[in-house]
Symmetry: C2
Amino acid sequence: MTTIRDIARALGITPSTVSRALSGNPRVKEETRRAVEKTAREMGYERNVVAANLRKGRSMIVGIVIPRIHREFFSNCIGGAESVLNQAGYSALICQTIESVEAEIQALKTLKNYRVAGVLLSHAINAPNGDHVKEILGNTPLIQFDRVFPDLPGAKIVGANCDGAYKATRHLIEAGYRKIGTLAGYMTSQAYVERLVGYRMALEDAGLPFDEKLVYYNTIARETGYEAGLKAIGAGCDALYSAGAFSALGAIDALKEKGIRVPEDFGLMTPSLSTLNQHPFEMGEAAAHAFLEGRRDTQVIPMELIERQSSNKNKT
Amino acid sequence: MTTIRDIARALGITPSTVSRALSGNPRVKEETRRAVEKTAREMGYERNVVAANLRKGRSMIVGIVIPRIHREFFSNCIGGAESVLNQAGYSALICQTIESVEAEIQALKTLKNYRVAGVLLSHAINAPNGDHVKEILGNTPLIQFDRVFPDLPGAKIVGANCDGAYKATRHLIEAGYRKIGTLAGYMTSQAYVERLVGYRMALEDAGLPFDEKLVYYNTIARETGYEAGLKAIGAGCDALYSAGAFSALGAIDALKEKGIRVPEDFGLMTPSLSTLNQHPFEMGEAAAHAFLEGRRDTQVIPMELIERQSSNKNKT
DNA sequence: TTGTATGCGTTATCAG
DNA sequence: CTGATAACGCATACAA
């Protein structure tokens, strides 16, 4: 691998000048710059960014920490973030936590050790608070998205959770369902808390009772969604608003098992690309932009209702 | 940030010893090792991997280059690869090329500049050959997956494309369809070439004619799939085997527009998670393992047929 | 405009 | 078992 010293030697100048010429420093004669660029190309020079990063104390890498890469929502976030970051000359180092706080801590440490320029984070569902994040990251710029700790500093990109849940629940009501339960997810996550609020508001605005017994907590996996689905059926529900996409799949399993038809006998609404578009790609883009622009505010990405068969009781 | 020098000073020893103690070098007294580890913990030391990487000339980063992160297939590959790499202490730097060879070249250069330990690559569809890869990467370990250049050295992980296409096409035949066209994709990619072969074999084994006019090339996007779908309808096809998932969506658009019902009037088969499982997660895992184990062979990941309504003419 | 000198934090090679 | 020293490749403050 050729270095700036090789180029310097070849041209009879010093590495400093080569470094300056290559990094676009204006304090270098146009002539030498051209000569340097020429021989650099000829010698197949590629700048060692590791060395540059060490010297500068920071890198052009942005860490992205998410629960699972292959979850549709998150893969879209990453896709959006990477494309924006890449255009600005940054690269994305991806760590998935598999919803484990320990893995999240490890990921943040790794990123810190790489002296990343910033971190885009969507925390593991069980993380009690953001203390570990603050402690590890120190003053490394932090952008949170989707799942955020409100007390942590830095920009936050969140979905319009309350509004989305409201829309989804109201849609079920308008479709003619009357006893609507909810797979509420974990209350450790602000996003799920807000969705529960939206669900409740929609019920109350429609004059329907809010029944705490129809709120199934801690359901985000397919398995727990299945169990909650069975309970909801037993409780006489005719519809469910699922705050998570995977628990909804479990609920569908339960409905199928009981021979209950969707949407004729039972309505289902969930924030996913198919029924409530959360615009994850745009969320990732927004997170990347927030990092690049050094923003510290909170942005809310709207959710868009998509009417589908699984909830259109009247229209089938 | 505390460094090994800080620790050394605090203990009245030299940085060398601290480094050795921390990196598990056996040539250090058990007592000193413990002391070093203790004060390291107390001072909140975190090793600067950038410096370590510079010194060692290589990093614990593996680059992953794929067309699009948020494509279901690829996000699963990345998910599988990251989990395996992470367990082995590696981190994943992700670059998406958006199917552009220029972006692919840029990505490979970036990775090379980071002195990554290896590269997992699924090339852009239009890349004519692997020359650019070889030229940029030099002797950086390369693992190709899904879309591979056979002439490039190093391990390759491919789907059982021929077999999968054969199964899919035969399934259409068994379902009662007789004039089966194909959205064949790009012949620049080995994967699509093999799928076309499988398609043809299935037809011929069933005694059906292979008609070159029913082969719609260069269809991988939804738009081109739509156009090809219209042509197929015009040509009197009653089914399509789509070698790509997105072109199939376009074909569905065309069928809907013409009021043609799937699967009653028209059969559709495509390699995707819903009809032909390509096991992308396992493919990513295999790629990561191949890198970790320094393999240089070619592995074939089987494809599994999943019967769905869109192709079950007889069973509806 | 260019050269000189120094250091980023770590590890490897010696010597002791 | 430990210390001294150099080097990885680059960027910058300072001097010229």
